[in-house]
Symmetry: C2
Subunit: 264 residues, 2 copies
Amino acid sequence: MCELLGMSANTPTDICFSFSGLMERGGRTGPHRDGWGIVFYEGRGARAFHDPNPSAQSPLANWVKDYPIKSQIVISHIRQANVGATSLENTHPFQRELWGRSFSFAHNGQVPDVKKKPLQFYLPIGDTDSEHAFCWILDQLRKRFPTRPDSPQQWLPLVASVSRQLAELGVFNMLLSDGEVLLSFCSTKLCWLTRQAPFNHASLKDTELTVNFAKETTDQDKVTIIATEPLTADESWQAYSSGEFRAFLHGTSIFESSADEPQR
Amino acid sequence: MCELLGMSANTPTDICFSFSGLMERGGRTGPHRDGWGIVFYEGRGARAFHDPNPSAQSPLANWVKDYPIKSQIVISHIRQANVGATSLENTHPFQRELWGRSFSFAHNGQVPDVKKKPLQFYLPIGDTDSEHAFCWILDQLRKRFPTRPDSPQQWLPLVASVSRQLAELGVFNMLLSDGEVLLSFCSTKLCWLTRQAPFNHASLKDTELTVNFAKETTDQDKVTIIATEPLTADESWQAYSSGEFRAFLHGTSIFESSADEPQR
């Protein structure tokens, strides 16, 4: 298994605190030794860092941890390899362009039979089932919407629907973004919380680090964090249910659907 | 104008020395203050760093300069903005997937009318003429070769031909790679050199740094560097002629064509 970390915020925010916790799980407090990656969106651009080495020992991870890159959307992933060798091309998040936007995707789980699904526009560069699943999702979006819809509300239901199809093939927890919205789907394990005023202290579970968000933020700030497991000990994380899809814009949940709702 | 730097080597090689020289030109010895980027290939994977800040003052550039990432193909670019704002999405090298390979592209010059060329499969994320040109080149490759040809020799002449068409629109010096071959085209200014045994000392022109390659290499190493302007004072750089196209595999020039040859 792997671990996911996502952020959606209404103001450029650094993720150093949460990233510090996640990186500890890459070989120190967790077994995810097979690489890590992170994508920071800045406007329509995306800044990605990938390293097939364990994050807990990675000089690059240390650099990213200490350097406050401010972003409104972040997707990060630490990997424990199941399918595919430990190599740079198999390191999440994966990225592709659709509709003139940079899409990023990270996956936790295994959906080996996804490789039987034929691909049309997008091909994997590495050999993971995860990248194949990402290419297949983008293929479905591109076929249904050859040009970019006016509003994310138009294409979000399709991602919810194809995520549910993929979850039938195995375990499929994922984060996806086009740089505007942050999409999330839970097959087995994912949780989230929104930090907003009044802000409090928070302490990481994986390393001795406490932050007083009241000193770091303004009253208008709204920051949602999504993670495989709660990263802090003293905040109220909400668990996703199995089959729950949720999309965030500027830190606010703007679309949700669950497994027992009729497909839209 | 901008400056380009490329490397093709027969063994994983760090580019710290040449990159150090280039980065000085990003706001210290040169006027290229509008961002920089670099892509390192490792197998089929590509590790990219982009920063819209001047390279000479960039903490990320310092990190990359000091951390020996070993690669067989590198493409780097420092930017002085002409078309498009100074932003992450306008920072070269640009990347797209074609044939299940990660393609990277960096451009020096201006070809504003390229934006009149319609695009089919690939769309720009930012608003530079350079990224539009890259998308158009990949469109031509994809239309002519829907699947990956067995040998680069099959598709290299098409890139030479479309590069010449783009050079008719203005100034078009470029570097392009699929992670296997490094392609280069010179419209106005580009030079290259190959370092191989017997190795000697080399001194950067832009900062006080000398390296003794004899101590850093083996007799089998072959490393070709391509740059807008010579980076060292004591090596024999060969200037490209206008309209010259050249492709390198493992540091060796495997394909060349010049403006006065009949189109193949």
